[in-house]
């Protein structure tokens, strides 16, 4: 029985996914560590992922691209910050430019934790966006300074267009 739950914290801009798999911890770890396995699930079937580099060790790096239906190939990188095989790792997942170098912009931090439980493995993945507090601040600040009015205005325009 697989159970997947997610929760988001809009203020902190974090998202947590908890999935329970009927498989041993080592098998679940391999879904992340083995690039050929990772490729089978990272991209949707229509946007398969190809990992041209993947080294799930502390300080390691990965490079990947996805191939779209029209042949477009958006690329990404992982910087692997911490690894405690087979229970935990932290990577920063960002986008690459045409030359395959990290593009400007903060990467998303993903922390993956695996726990053995009776009959399976629980995976807890926490994604944190770089400027969560700032977005929160931005929204609050904007509300005080008239953003609320602007949003209503936009809502009106959109309602007319619909």
């Amino acid at each position: 029985m697989t159970l997947v739950t997610t929760s988001k914290d809009l203020d902190a801009l974090t998202m947590v996914v908890v999935a329970e798999f009927d498989a041993g911890i080592e098998q679940v770890w391999q879904l992340w560590a083995d690039p050929r396995k990772l490729e089978r699930w990272w991209g949707p079937p229509e946007w398969p992922a190809t990992f041209t580099r993947h080294d799930l060790v502390t300080g390691g790096e990965s490079r990947y691209h996805m191939t779209g239906p029209d042949g477009e190939q958006p690329g990404g990188y992982w910087q692997i910050a911490e690894v405690q095989e087979p229970t935990r790792f932290v990577v920063r997942d960002g986008f690459t430019d045409e030359a395959g170098n990290p593009a400007p912009g903060d990467p998303v931090t993903m922390e993956v934790m695996l726990d053995e439980k009776p009959g399976g493995t629980r995976m807890t993945l926490t994604s944190t966006f770089a400027s969560a507090e700032q977005l929160d601040e931005m929204v609050k600040m904007g509300m005080e300074e008239g953003l609320a009015g602007a949003i209503e205005q936009i809502d009106g325009v959109l309602a007319e267009a619909a």
Binding site: V28, W41, P44, M123, I154
Partner: protein, 134 residues
């Protein structure tokens, strides 16, 4: 959850199809949050939502060079947080509050992306287990 409609009918790359949505959503979330990470840029968004501002006007407000403000504006423009329009000889910067709201919707897209990924992980584990235990 997931499948949000944004209520917009044109210009959004997010409407092509679900798969494009997943890929674009990740890129867009990243851009928006990066753009908002800087205090000056947040202030530019707020000011330019109240009224369109020229880059000259903004650079005076922050005691910054025209070029420095233009750089900030370019980051905001890429993230869709502001638009630029020409008014005679000046370029006016106009804030786009819709993008701030969209950030919340994008977080939901991101969640949907991970639900799909977890589903595929489960399928692989199931298939591989069957192979190992014929």
């Amino acid at each position: 959850m997931g499948n949000n409609t944004y209520g917009e009918t044109t210009q959004s790359p997010l409407t092509y199809n679900q798969m494009v949505v997943d890929v674009i959503a990740e890129a867009q979330v990243d851009r928006v949050f990066h753009a908002l990470a800087d205090r000056t840029r947040r202030d530019i968004v707020v000011r330019s939502m109240q009224a369109p501002r020229s880059v000259t006007e903004l650079s005076r407000a922050y005691s910054m060079s025209f070029a420095a403000v233009q750089k900030h504006v370019a980051v905001l423009e890429q993230a869709g947080l502001v638009t630029k329009e020409r008014s005679g000889r000046t370029q006016l910067v106009r804030g786009n509050p819709e993008t701030v709201r969209r950030a919340a919707a994008l977080l939901e897209q991101y969640e949907a992306l991970w639900l799909e990924r977890a589903g595929r992980m489960r399928d692989i584990l199931t298939t591989d287990n069957r192979k190992e235990q014929p």
